[in-house]
């Protein structure tokens, strides 16, 4: 896969992303705005996201409700902001889990090789035999839907991919001169792993992590669609789209507005991810 081949090397000048590129700036601005809204949600004077008003159901966007209301008359904007909090916690938490566990396993497997490698990567291959979403469904349905369990389940399904990237890059690093030099001056194995190898793995792992933030939001939405994310009435983006699906004919905006909101968010993440990937992917730059 292309991501696994991301090589670790100093960025070359010509392919470096233009940070003044307007699309990229917009993407960063949108994500910062969402982050600020999610953090300051309790103090924004929003209508309660769970307060139903059966006299104002499926309203189009207007002065009272900027982005309209859903089929129970709840304010869409408020639900999107509070739901965004769920998406962000899940995205950051699950990527952190995948990065930490997968990165560590891949590092150890690649560095020590032989049986350790075969054992760890064998387990990873078995995990990859399950379509990720099915593993997540099984875990969440057994443990019960909650932000913590959704984060953990998505984090677990991210582990094998991070492990593979970390291993592939460690393999290319472990026989390099600076690692040999560290060995010769008598550095301990943990020190070599943490101070010599790990810092060189980070570019590849982090640029993959950015992309996985978007994947995590999509996965949380898919679980929400199946009713396996936070419990109603607490809002989540996937749950909002799923529950308004039955109103698609009479009030398509009630579905489309949350869909567009989520789309813009994941698009921004992917846009930034693409730039980060270009920054570290020397292979594409030379083309």
């Amino acid at each position: 896969m292309a991501e696994t081949m991301a090589t670790v090397s100093a960025p070359a000048k010509p392919g470096a992303p233009k940070w003044r590129e307007p699309g990229l700036l917009l993407a960063v601005a949108w994500l910062l705005l969402l982050l600020a809204l999610a953090v300051f949600a309790p103090w924004l004077g929003l209508v309660s996201p769970e307060e139903a008003d059966l006299l104002a159901t499926l309203e189009p966007p207007g002065a009272a409700h900027w982005l309209g209301t859903d089929s129970l008359g709840r304010d869409t904007l408020s639900r999107l902001i509070w739901g965004g909090k769920v998406s962000m916690v899940v995205a950051i938490g699950s990527v952190a889990i995948g990065l930490a566990i997968g990165g560590a396993l891949g590092l150890v497997a690649g560095f020590f090789g032989s049986m350790t490698d075969r054992l760890i990567m064998g387990v990873m291959t078995v995990m990859l035999c399950f379509p990720g979403i099915i593993l997540a469904i099984a875990l969440v349905s057994s443990l019960g839907p909650s932000v913590g369990n959704v984060t953990g389940a998505i984090g677990v399904i991210f582990v094998p991919a991070f492990a593979r990237i970390a291993r592939a890059n460690t393999l290319s690093l472990r026989d390099r001169e600076f690692v040999l030099a560290a060995r010769l001056i008598g550095a301990s194995v943990p020190r070599i792993l943490m101070r010599e190898v790990l810092p060189n793995l980070m570019p590849a792992l982090l640029s993959y992590a950015v992309v996985m933030l978007g994947v995590a939001i999509l996965a949380e939405a898919a679980l929400g669609f199946l009713g396996l994310s936070v419990r109603p009435p607490q809002p989540s983006w996937g749950g909002m789209i799923a529950s308004e699906r039955s109103s698609l004919v009479e009030a398509p905006l009630a579905v489309f507005i949350p869909a567009i909101w989520m789309f813009l968010t994941v698009l921004s993440i992917n846009w930034i991810g693409e730039s980060v990937r270009r920054l570290f992917d020397i292979k594409a730059q030379t083309l």
Binding site: M1, T125, F130, A138, L248
Partner: protein, 319 residues
């Protein structure tokens, strides 16, 4: 068939068996160790502990996990996947009924995705770094930024609600005629294909760009071959290794996507069967479906590996 090839096959088959054992054991562990119990799920929350205990004995849930796994495995090896806790239906029969729906959906998805991705990938590579290329790149990032069910809902709105071309849900089997069958699968297959298209296109584009820089392409160009002959006759096959791999691997991954899409479009496939089984803690159904999916996944990997040899003669020699 060289001996290197046979040895490769041997290693693959052993790996396959080990992976299947591990995957089914892992499923057994997940469905057993995690909270949630088939007996409770069947009887409901109001059941007395005595009722639950007697049902657990009846279902064999009170035995040791390892004993139950070995028991299940020995039956599975003889083609007996047991019965559903819920409906008492034979699981092998249930899977036999539903698997064709999922397989057809996945096959159609791949066909649609490739039908668009191959020309688009070639075009993006040939016109790389032009407006066409960046337009295609933007479209593919956009498609990757939407979950499958949202794409599905958008397609339903566009093609079913507004245009009335396709049904919004439901499935017509082949016995209702091929036309009706394809008509009912069109929207779900398009939905899934929209997610595969960008992946395939980007892969082919990247490999094609590096192929086009090879010397033999220059030779072909110097000989005066047409662009068409160079792209399709000389460059496409050597550029399709990664594409074949990922198309193969995705057959397994698509089963995951099918779970959501079968739920959205009410298609009676194994994805929907699995979701329902998970909700109901119908352990042997989960176990059976996972076995089928994992077997399919591993067999496909084996097949992809053998396909390499057909596409790239160098693999045949190095083994």
């Amino acid at each position: 068939m060289s001996s290197a090839f046979l040895r490769r096959l041997q290693v693959q088959v052993v790996t396959l068996l080990v992976i299947l054992l591990a995957a089914t054991a892992l499923t057994f562990i997940i469905t057993n160790v995690l909270p949630g119990d088939a007996a409770v799920a069947i009887l409901g929350d109001n059941a007395t502990p005595a009722d639950i205990a007697s049902l657990r004995t009846e279902l064999g849930l009170d035995r040791n996990v390892v004993v139950r796994y070995v028991d299940w495995l020995s039956h599975a090896l003889r083609g007996d996947l047991g019965k559903s806790y819920r409906t008492r239906e034979n699981i092998a029969t249930m899977i036999g009924d539903r698997l064709p729906v999922t397989l057809e959906l996945i096959l159609l998805t791949q066909l649609i995705a490739l039908a668009f991705a191959v020309p688009a990938g070639i075009l993006a590579a040939y016109r790389s770094r032009t407006k066409v290329d960046s337009a295609l790149a933007t479209v593919s990032i956009g498609l990757l930024s939407m979950p499958a069910f949202v794409k599905g809902i958008l397609l339903i709105y566009l093609m079913s609600v507004l245009l009335g071309w396709f049904p919004a849900s439901g499935f017509k089997s082949l016995s209702d005629g091929l036309g009706a069958n394809l008509h009912s699968l069109a929207l779900p297959a398009m939905t899934l294909a929209l997610a595969e298209f960008p992946v395939y296109m980007r892969l082919l584009r990247a490999d094609m760009i590096s192929t086009l820089q090879q010397d033999y392409i220059l030779v072909a160009r110097a000989k005066g071959l047409s662009v068409r002959e160079i792209l399709l006759g000389h460059a496409l096959r050597p550029s399709s290794l990664s594409l074949v791999t990922v198309v193969g691997i995705n057959l397994g991954r698509l089963v995951g996507g099918a779970v959501i899409i079968e739920t959205l479009f009410a298609l009676p496939g194994i994805g929907q069967m699995l979701v329902n089984a998970v909700y109901q803690h119908d352990q042997f159904v989960i176990q059976g479906v996972v076995l089928v999916i994992a077997t399919g996944f591993v067999l496909i990997n084996l097949l992809v590996d053998l396909m390499y040899a057909l596409i790239d003669p160098r693999v045949r020699i190095s083994g």
